[in-house]
Amino acid sequence: MQYLLAGTRKGAWIYTSDASRGKWKVDGPHYLGSIVNHLVLDPRDQRTMVMALRAGHLVPTILTSTDFGKTWQESPKPPAFPKADDPEMGRSVSHTFWLSPGHESEPGVWWAGTSPPALFRSEDGGVTWDAVKGWNEHPRYHDWCPNAPTPDGELLAQISICTDDPKHMYLCTSSGGVFETTDQCATWAPLNKGVEVTFGPELYPEFGQDAHQIAVHPKDSNRIYQQNHCGIYRIDRPGDTWVRIGNNMPEAVGDIGFSVVVDPRNTDKAWVWPMDGSDVWPRTSPGGKPAAYMTDDGGETWQRQDKGFPREQAWYTVKRQAFVGDGLDPMGLYIGTTGGEVWASSNAGESWNQIAVHLPEIYSLNAVTVD
């Protein structure tokens, strides 16, 4: 059974299909009217769903389900900062933005990224959460997370764990860039060399980048792709310098976007979803013509994949958690748009079909196979 989970600005929907991925059944809405930043099904136990939800102006809540959304349990201990000596100076979680199941060797472990950009860990399947001091109280935290006035708040936007080492992790923030730990959060260091910052006083700062999303390759953790605010990059560790592979994109399309997806069987194959990042940053499909772009040579060349999409006058955006793959062969790809549409490809992007329409603005998708 294929599961496709959609988190939207006004609730969550759960889609299911058989292995053909041709027809999808819908279940929802769940928590209609609440903002669902991320809804994720644990690929390890193929049972636990964790949802990051907030209701309009109200506050962050984590919900879990172990019966595929039939029932939900609210976290009795959601992500929250420790109480400060001076409450007026203490930090408060605005919302949880990102959820990651932990490493395969650590069942039940989950990670959460919040705004303000903080890291939280659960060891019981997302039911209770503890602050990760190694990041949240790092001596350089306030340098790396300067409380930048980004839309919807400064974010810890992603957490990635290397498949070959549970202690080796990367995280992305919206105003610091990429950071690396090799001791599961005890120590951290920026990893931004070579990544441009076109919106600041220094073109190549040590930190201060806006890392929209990275993809640490599951087959070889040394290969990492990054869709940055300022372009598409690749790094091959233990190298320490990112290379801008987005320069190989068509000039009229550019290399600005939110998401990057990799083929789990091929370290050279990845997809991006470009958006218009010119002048005032419309964040729409460039020219109103939606398309994914695929590379199968590590970013040396890019191929446009637009079969099935409108040929013109389609101005939606795909947010960073709303472009995902299912890891199957052939690779299934899914986008959720700001206009409430879900499009799917069951042939690695060669053609696309609209599988849902008229949803609220889509914030996230998650594609998981349940045996």
């Binding site: 102006h57 109200l58 929250a80 400060a84 408060s92």
Partner: protein
């Protein structure tokens, strides 16, 4: 004392718009409320014990700025939550 609950928090109170709670301070009343309806306090009060930005709490008609204010049994607590936005 009576505590008036806004619509967006009534999922915790089984749909009830008015519930009973006790305590000598607003903090104690909120703790009592959370004991009866687990999770409701955190949606109004942050981890630093501050009243959240889009919540207002009135005690017998007066705006509460903090939760450590004293209450009497005759007080009524009215919780209001903003629902603006599109």
């Amino acid at each position: 004392m009576n505590v008036l609950i806004p619509t967006q928090l009534r999922s915790y109170t089984g749909g009830r718009s008015c519930v009973a709670a006790s305590g000598n301070t607003l903090a104690e009343v909120l703790a009592c409320l959370d004991s009866d309806y687990p999770g409701i306090r955190f949606r109004m009060i942050d981890e630093q014990d501050r009243i959240r930005e889009h919540i207002r709490i009135f005690v017998s008609g007066d705006t509460a700025e903090r939760i450590d204010i004293p209450l009497t049994e005759s007080d009524e607590v009215h919780i209001v939550g903003a629902l603006s936005g599109g």
